[in-house]
């Protein structure tokens, strides 16, 4: 056993030497190189759009081949962590804003020399930098808006939602649209962490205290926000027992023409393209103020990659090339992270939905995901679990928030 361990150690040592020798030797630009890219952002409908961008990159860089792996969002981060632990991580990987700090602080990502920082939206490129050094390039961003079925509004004789709507406007319309006879529901909003920090902001409350060491939502305003989120279930929104909370439940119900309004991200545009009724979007209603959730994704180059230069070049192409901008705007695959507002103007001219201006108006008042140094995922899981307890009526909203406060402070403190 001891001998074989020594032998294994020896082999590892030799291969490490060989690997480092490979890494330091500058690769000739003509040598064919294959880089691997692991992503979740194209999963579920945009695989071909990603391939279009890759084809364009390979045409410009004939010596580089991009080998792409696409995983569903739900499996992606588990796989990424396992790959990092096993040393089998791809040269280029996707990340989102929530997971980025963990990835960057672990030393898993190579620092990037960005040749064209001015072509990215400033807030986005900053979001993936640590002390002024980029460890990721933003690849897309999206926000959450209020979708509405215009035909249902017409039938009920209601005015369409506008960007000035408040919670009470939404609730009044939702009640008018809900019809048990036809199985039509007024408004759907997921009961989860990602909705909660946003409705807190919409009510002038905040999720964390100023220095991020404890939660700050267990206040009258916080309880009112949680009440707003959990009280729809069973009145203007189906209950969990009726299927609420399962994957794509809201999108499917909306597509069936049985949902008046839904709070969802602009990534659903594609899925709603074939809807057999008129629909549009508006900025999400607030209570004391408006606040919208913005999500962004980025790509980072693995620090362990043997092809950092090639992977960085592809990362830049994937996040700032004209091809990428065209593909994304054409297909409505979220929004390109470009700083060029003129390019985004094209986006506004496309129809379905007509009110695309709401996508940009939502950016005027953003609720950022609360981030903590330790226990991010557990914090998110606790919030969602406790809110669902309140939604199902097993706890009062006040009890649920008090319990969430106690549990989360024990984790993040």
């Amino acid at each position: 056993m001891k001998h074989s361990l020594l032998a294994a150690g020896g082999i590892l040592g030799v291969s490490a030497l060989l690997l480092s020798a490979c890494a330091t030797e500058p690769a000739s630009s003509d040598d064919p190189v294959t880089i691997t890219y692991s992503n979740f952002t194209s999963a579920g409908g945009n695989e071909e759009n990603l391939q279009t961008i890759i084809d364009a990159f390979e045409a410009e860089n004939p010596n580089v081949t991009v080998d792409v792996t696409t995983l569903p969002y739900g499996d992606y981060f588990t796989t990424l962590q396992t790959d990092l632990a096993a040393g089998t991580v791809a040269d280029l990987v996707d990340t989102n804003y929530d997971f980025f700090p963990q990835l960057a602080s672990s030393g898993s990502l190579a620092p990037l020399e960005v040749t064209n920082p001015e072509s990215y939206r400033e807030s986005l490129i900053d979001a993936y930098s640590v002390d002024g050094v980029s460890y990721g390039l933003p690849s897309s961003f999206s926000d959450v808006v209020l979708y509405y079925n215009a035909d249902l509004f017409d039938a009920a004789g209601l005015d369409y939602p506008t960007s000035d709507w408040t919670w009470s406007d939404e609730m009044a319309a939702a009640k008018a649209l809900t019809d048990a006879g036809t199985g039509t529901w007024g408004s759907h909003q997921p009961v989860s962490f990602y909705e909660f920090y946003k409705v807190l902001a919409q009510n002038g409350a905040s999720f964390l205290n100023d220095d991020g060491t404890a939660v700050a939502f267990n206040t009258p305003k916080g309880i009112e926000a949680a009440e707003w989120l959990t009280s729809k279930s069973g009145t203007v929104m189906p209950t969990i027992e009726q299927g609420q909370g399962t994957a794509d439940f809201d999108t499917n119900l909306f597509l069936e023409g049985k949902l008046g309004m839904m709070h969802s991200g602009i990534w659903v545009f594609g899925a709603l393209a074939e809807a057999p009724f008129a629909w549009d979007i508006a900025v999400e209603p607030g209570n004391t103020q408006q606040a919208s959730a913005v999500f962004s994704n980025a790509v980072g180059v693995s620090a362990a990659s043997d092809h950092i230069a090639e992977a960085s070049a592809f990362a830049e192409f994937l996040t700032s090339s004209q091809t990428m901008v065209d593909v994304r705007l054409d297909s409505g695959w979220e929004l390109p992270p470009t700083s060029d507002e003129d390019q985004l103007a094209v986006y506004l001219t496309k129809d379905t939905p007509a009110n695309r201006q709401a996508v940009f108006d939502s950016l005027d008042s953003i609720a950022l995901t609360p981030l903590v140094e330790k226990g991010q995922q557990e914090m998110q899981d606790i919030v969602t679990e406790e809110l669902i307890e309140a939604q199902a009526g097993r706890k009062s909203v006040a009890e649920a928030l008090a319990s969430a406060e106690e549990r989360i402070n024990a984790v993040i403190g």
């Binding site: 962590q81 632990a85 990835l103 299927g243 995922q377 097993r394």
Partner: protein, 315 residues
Amino acid sequence: MALSTVGITPAETITTPQAGGVRRRRTSAGYVLTVCAFLLPSAIPLALFVLGPMIAAAWISFTEWNLITPMEFIGWANYQSLLADERTGEVFLHTLQYIAGYLPLVYIGGLALALALNRALKGRSLWRGIYFLPVVTSWIAVAIVWRWLLNPNNGVVNVALGWFGIDGPGWWTDPDWAMVSIILASAWKDLGFVMVILLAGLQSINPDLYDAAKVDGAGPWSRLKNVTIPMLSPSTFFVVVISLINGFQVFDQVYAMTGGGPGGSTQVVVQQIYDLTFRYGAAGEASALSWLLFIVILAVTVIQIIGQKKWVHYA
């Protein structure tokens, strides 16, 4: 399907302890080599995929590690925090609740099936095949079907209950019924496995015993109680040991049916190990919990092996 082979193997496994000592004295070098050659194909994967990871997990359990940053040695801290954490007790309690519901159900159901299919019955092999099918079906497929069957709103079970005027429960959406849902699906899936083992046990019972019992005037119930059940005890022992080990390790069905919810009501030990490792970046604590689970399973199994002398009868 080669059910007959499947049926025979476990019976032989069961009788092994009894036949164990027969060839003990042959220890020539050639004989040892031959034995090793036969053991090697299973010993290598066992070392690579079981012993290796176990030792690695023991090491990881003394570190703080989130899979992506370097490990940091912290001694017994993971074990201390686990033992102080009330959630550890909860996940073991949920696991025991699962076992308490699952084991009697799967044993009694499996025994009833085995007794039924041990008789001369038209299409007997076909029935055995049908009842064994769930055993070889993927848990993910089974979980999806059972979630649908037990859908509180429009699932088959609640619709059928409605015909009798019964308002069905919320099943996997209700913390009081979620574990019941998992137990029902699990018992249904494993019924065929228990049936096959017990069937093999039934077939190895000497028919003379039944004839003798009949001569003595024993009725069907008495024959079951005084011949079948005692003679089946080695198979029963095997089923109980295996089911308890599998029960403590319950995971796939929980992951696929409830993910530990609602409200953490089905959070079992292995689901907690999974969450700690892959959701909460606490692979060290998860490894420590794995070792605690291993110690519990080992202790339970040793107690059973010691206890079997009192109730297991090898013919």
